[in-house]
C-alpha cells in the first residue's frame, strides 16, 4: 500500500483540488465556499495542462526551429482555455446569486440562510 511515484505537478493539482474540497465541506460563509470552488477549478486546470506536458518540448506555436515533433500536445491547452472561460462565467453567476442572498437575508452564513426560511 505505497503511493507510487507521481509528479510534483500532479501532486500540486491534487492538493489544490483537495484544499478546495475541504473549503466546500467545512466553511460556512458563502463567499469562502465560492473561493474554494475557484481553487478546485484551478487544480483541475493545472491537472489537464500537466497531463498534456511532454518533457523537453516547447509551446505548440510552430515557428522557426519548432516543428510538429518539437511541440507539446495542444489539445489540453485548448480544453483549459474553454474551462477557464466557463469557470469565469459560472463564478460571476454564483457571485451575483450571493449578492441577492445577502440582500434578502442579511447574512452569508449558509446555516443561517437555511434556518431562516427552511
Amino acid at each position: 500500500m505505497n503511493v507510487p511515484h507521481i509528479s510534483i505537478y500532479y501532486f500540486g493539482a491534487i492538493s489544490l483540488v483537495l484544499i478546495g474540497l475541504y473549503g466546500v465541506l467545512v466553511k460556512k460563509n458563502l463567499m469562502k465556499i465560492l473561493i474554494s470552488l475557484s481553487i478546485m477549478e484551478t487544480g483541475v486546470n493545472l491537472l489537464l495542462i500537466s497531463i498534456g506536458y511532454v518533457s523537453g518540448k516547447s509551446a505548440p506555436i510552430l515557428s522557426e526551429g519548432i516543428g510538429p515533433t518539437q511541440a507539446v500536445d495542444p489539445i489540453p491547452q485548448a480544453l483549459v482555455l474553454t474551462a477557464i472561460v466557463i469557470g469565469v462565467a459560472t463564478t460571476a453567476m454564483a457571485l451575483s446569486a450571493a449578492i441577492i442572498i445577502y440582500e434578502k437575508y442579511g447574512t452569508l452564513n449558509v446555516e443561517e440562510i437555511r434556518r431562516l426560511r427552511g
Binding site: 505537478y9 505548440p60 506555436i61 515557428s63 511541440a71 495542444p74 474553454t82
Partner: protein
C-alpha cells in the same frame, strides 16, 4: 469539530484515490494521437501557426460558438439576477490622484493591448478570450478610478449582439461556400495568405473570428462588472 475531522478523513481518502489513479498516467511523455494529427496538419489545413488557436477556432469552432453562448447566457443571467428598477453607482470616494492619472494615461494602451492580443491570436499565445478580458480590465480600472463613470450600455449591448450574429454569419458563409458550418473559406477556397505563413495576414478566418470573439467577450465582461458594481437606490 467532528465535522472538520470527518472532512479531513474523507479528503485523505479521496486524495489517496486520486493519487493512485494518476500514478498510472506517465508524466512528460507523448500520450495522445489526435494532438499529433493536429500538429502535423495545422499549417496546411488552417494557416495558423499557433496550434491551440487553430483547435479552438478552426477544428472545434462550433464548440467555441457554444462557449460564447454560455458566456452570453451567464452575462444575461447576472443582469437578470441583479435587475432592479433603479440602480446607480453608490461609490463614495473618488480614486486617488495616482489612480485617476494612471488610468487616464493607461486606458487607451490597455485597450490597444487587448486588441493586439486578439488580432494576433493565430500567431502568439492568447486570442479572443484573453484579449476581451484585458479590455474588460481597462473598464474595471475606469470604474475604480471615477465614481460617476458608467459604460455606454446601449452601444455595448448592440455591439455584443452584432458580434454574436457575425460569428454565426461567418459560419453560414462557410456553409454556403464549402458545405459545412464554419468552413474556413478564406483559407481553403481563396487560398488567401498561403505565401506569408506566420505573418499577420494569414491564418484564414481565425483573426476574423477572434476579433469578433474579443469584442464580444470584452463588452460582456464589462457589462458583468457594471452590473456587479451597481446598487439599488432607495428614495
Amino acid at each position: 469539530m467532528l465535522k472538520r475531522s470527518l472532512a479531513i478523513i474523507s479528503i485523505l481518502i479521496i486524495g489517496y484515490w486520486l493519487a493512485q489513479g494518476l500514478a498510472g498516467v506517465p508524466f512528460g511523455q507523448d500520450k495522445m494521437l489526435v494532438g499529433h494529427y493536429y500538429l502535423q496538419h495545422v499549417k496546411e489545413q488552417t494557416g495558423a501557426v499557433n496550434a491551440v488557436t487553430a483547435i479552438v477556432v478552426n477544428y472545434r469552432g462550433f464548440d467555441t460558438l457554444g462557449e460564447v453562448t454560455v458566456l452570453f447566457i451567464a452575462s444575461t443571467g447576472v443582469g437578470a439576477l441583479l435587475w432592479r428598477k433603479k440602480r446607480e453607482r453608490t461609490a463614495k470616494t473618488e480614486g486617488s490622484v495616482v489612480l485617476t492619472t494612471g488610468v487616464e494615461l493607461l486606458f487607451p494602451f490597455i485597450v490597444m493591448f487587448g486588441a493586439y492580443i486578439f488580432i494576433h491570436g493565430h500567431l502568439t499565445p492568447g486570442g479572443g478570450f484573453p484579449g476581451g478580458a484585458t479590455i474588460a480590465t481597462a473598464f474595471l480600472l475606469l470604474y475604480m478610478a471615477f465614481t460617476i463613470y458608467e459604460v455606454p450600455h446601449k452601444a455595448f449591448e448592440k455591439t455584443e449582439g452584432i458580434a454574436g450574429m457575425s460569428y454565426v454569419l461567418v459560419g453560414l458563409i462557410g456553409l454556403a461556400i464549402g458545405g459545412y458550418f464554419l468552413f474556413d473559406w478564406i483559407w481553403q477556397t481563396w487560398q488567401w495568405g498561403t505565401n506569408n505563413l506566420g505573418r499577420l495576414f494569414s491564418g484564414g478566418f481565425i483573426p476574423v473570428i477572434y476579433t469578433i470573439i474579443g469584442i464580444k467577450v470584452g463588452t460582456e465582461l464589462s457589462g458583468i462588472v457594471d452590473n456587479m458594481l451597481k446598487e439599488e437606490v432607495r428614495e
